[in-house]
């Protein structure tokens, strides 16, 4: 998709008045967030496993060239083909070529964020090859011609009523008077429609959660089983994965998997975890005749060893966005490209540039919840701050913001002046706001009070309270 991250502010303004979106996002707290907390409590070793998972990835990244060579050798040994794609365009060309050689008419797809990143669907469609998304959430957004709004729950922004209306509009060969009130009825209808697509597809494309160097294996996790039907029915299977998905061994994969589902949906493990190594073997009655892996760089090697290196540990669980107050208010589409939420606020400018995506690192209150829940302990707020600094240095900051920062910095560097000013302002604000405890409007803070009230201070500054506390003890 064409990035719309530059329009972040306008996107947000629109999202904040979107009532169905508000309703849909309201479910995250009771779903993903509550379930992750429970999963964490139920596994006493969870925090230690996070440290180990981080160590596995750091070890892999420090030896990435060698593990990729090992992985490639094992895939070839199993009869598969590895293709290296420095850029998104390279990856698109490689995939289209494979599809053309297979004389493909339709391509089924398992969920792949890399597929979104390289915009493979548009590319195939232009060449008269029909891509069919098979993950239910991906199907729901594909038929609306929308991008996914969450990396593990693509249609989280939609309500049941919207899905029903889309199905009635699209599945016109089904009886008009059929009942579609419950999610179960909608799922059954999608199952029926997509089953035919699975059986008819010439090529199946999936992503990969992990690539295992030990055995030349790609791993996907799903709950629906759509990824499996995508890869075991068509004649050709294409895996698209970015280079940092590599881990050394099956044991290392275990460690990542132990934190992945728990952080994502709060499950102990996904329903299906599938390890695929090469095409069908002699005597196998099913499986693809051809097995291809497209290894995508597209900016990752530039992040390696840089100040954004830690982002390469990301395993795409979505915990950071599930726990983000900004994501929870505006949803994923506002971020304007493939990766939303805190991980997107760091990854998007790294992959498509600060000029397009400079607003995203500002979409944070720095509350720190993203880093607190990240299974790979990625310092997301720190990296967003680094992008803010870069943006400031590049001169992209608005003049009024700059002036404000300068005034604040002038006072903050002179602590007597700062204390004198706050010592005057805070008691005054406390007196003015005493009755209701909040301000509905406030001079110079219109941007804040337009959407919410400003709480009134209690009467003393932090420094004053601290001095009193010290004096008492």
């Amino acid at each position: 998709m064409k990035p719309q991250s530059h329009a972040f502010k306008a996107n947000v303004a629109q999202a904040l008045t979107n009532e169905p979106l508000k309703k849909a996002l309201g479910g995250i707290k009771h779903g993903f967030v509550a379930n992750r907390a429970k999963a964490r409590t139920n596994l006493p070793e969870f925090e230690e496993l996070r440290d180990e998972a981080k160590a596995v990835k750091e070890h892999t990244l420090a030896h990435l060239d060698l593990y990729l060579e090992e992985y490639e050798a094992k895939v070839s040994e199993a009869g598969g083909h590895v293709h290296w794609a420095p850029s998104a365009q390279n990856a698109r060309d490689i995939i289209l070529n494979i599809c053309r050689e297979a004389d493909a008419k339709t391509v089924t797809k398992g969920k792949t964020m890399i597929g979104e990143e390289i915009a493979i669907n548009e590319h195939l469609a232009k060449a008269d090859i029909t891509p069919v998304e098979t993950d239910l959430g991906e199907y729901l957004v594909q038929i609306r011609d929308e991008p996914p709004s969450h990396i593990i729950a693509p249609a989280i922004h939609l309500t049941k009523a919207q899905v029903e209306s889309d199905f009635r509009q699209l599945h016109t060969d089904l009886p008009i008077d059929r009942v579609l009130d419950e999610p179960g009825q909608l799922v059954a209808e999608a199952r029926k429609v997509l089953r035919e697509r699975f059986l008819a597809a010439d090529v199946g494309i999936t992503g990969a959660n992990l690539l295992i160097a030990e055995t030349g294996t790609s791993v996907i996790v799903t709950n629906e089983g759509n990824g499996d039907l995508t890869q075991c029915l068509p004649r050709v299977h294409i895996v698209i994965a970015s280079i940092e998905k590599t881990v050394p061994t099956l044991e290392d994969a275990n460690t990542i998997l132990r934190v992945l589902a728990r952080s994502a949906t709060g499950q102990e493990c996904s329903t299906y975890t599938t390890y695929t190594t090469g095409p069908k073997r002699p005597g196998d009655p099913d499986g693809p005749e051809e097995y291809h892996v497209v290894l995508l760089d597209n900016g990752r090697t530039e992040m390696l060893g840089s100040e954004f290196h830690d982002m390469l540990r990301c395993i795409r669980c979505g915990a950071c966005m599930n726990h983000c107050p900004v994501y929870g208010a505006v949803g994923g589409h506002a971020y304007g490209w493939v990766y939303p939420g805190p991980m997107g606020a760091v990854l998007t400018p790294s992959l498509i540039g600060i000029d397009e995506a400079g607003h995203l690192p500002n979409a944070s209150t720095f509350c720190g919840r993203c880093e607190a829940v990240c299974p790979m302990r990625i310092p997301l707020p720190k990296m967003m701050r680094q992008y803010r600094e870069r943006e400031y240095e590049k001169g992209n900051t608005p003049p009024l913001y700059k002036l404000g920062m300068k005034l604040w910095a002038f006072a903050a560097k002179r602590h007597r002046l700062y204390q004198a000013l706050t010592g005057l302002a805070i008691p005054l604000m406390a007196r003015l706001g005493k009755r209701s405890g909040r301000f509905r409007t406030f001079p110079l803070a219109g941007g804040w009070t337009r959407h919410r009230d400003l709480p009134a201070p209690q009467g003393k500054t932090f420094q004053q309270l601290w001095r009193e506390k010290e004096a008492k003890s």
Binding site: P44, H63, N90, L136, V187, C232, P248, E251, Y272, D297
Partner: protein, 226 residues
Amino acid sequence: MNTAQSRQFVLDAIRGALDIKSDDTVRKATVQKRLKAHPSNLVPEHAKSSGDANLELFIEKLEGQSASVSRAVSTSDIPEIVAAYLRENNLPAEFRTGSDELFERIPWETAPTLTRHQGRGQGSDAVTMSRARTAAAETGTLFLTSGAENPTTLNFLPDTHIMVISRKDILGSYEDAWNALRQVYGPRTLPRAVNLVSGPSRTADIEQIIVMGAHGPRRLHVIIVG
């Protein structure tokens, strides 16, 4: 950029970013050692159970993920268990299996109502049956391997999937299960597909409400033998 150039471009970019000198024998040795020894990382304590406790954990985890479980004393009990299960769930008394020797040993004639078909999965299959090679009680997960014995398509196409596993094949952790498969397939080698299954297919893509049977089986029934 041709294929070889693309490969070199990515590898050079990695080596440049990592500031690797030409002589990196230490790194190479580190990688080879890790691949060969595949050292275990931390295994959760609960995954180290054994005996009855391990079996109980396995059943508890599976049932917690909406699978149903029955126990068979020996393979000769399986026909009656299958027939009863299909009857109770109003399912046709027909199913498909692969060529696993276990299915050849089962005395199917003791349940004459049952019809067994053989081969890979079909889009129209209502019920299929597979043998799981091993299992990890840690998360109630069965490991199925591809091949004519248990074709992969049998795991995903039917409405109802029945799995048979020997009690002795139910291990504690994922580490135990992979080591068991290494015994069968050899070091650094896996069959085309290894499917880890922990319950029936599900989705929560509509308003985060869980619905069973998204694309794969709506029901999973596991028969533990022994």
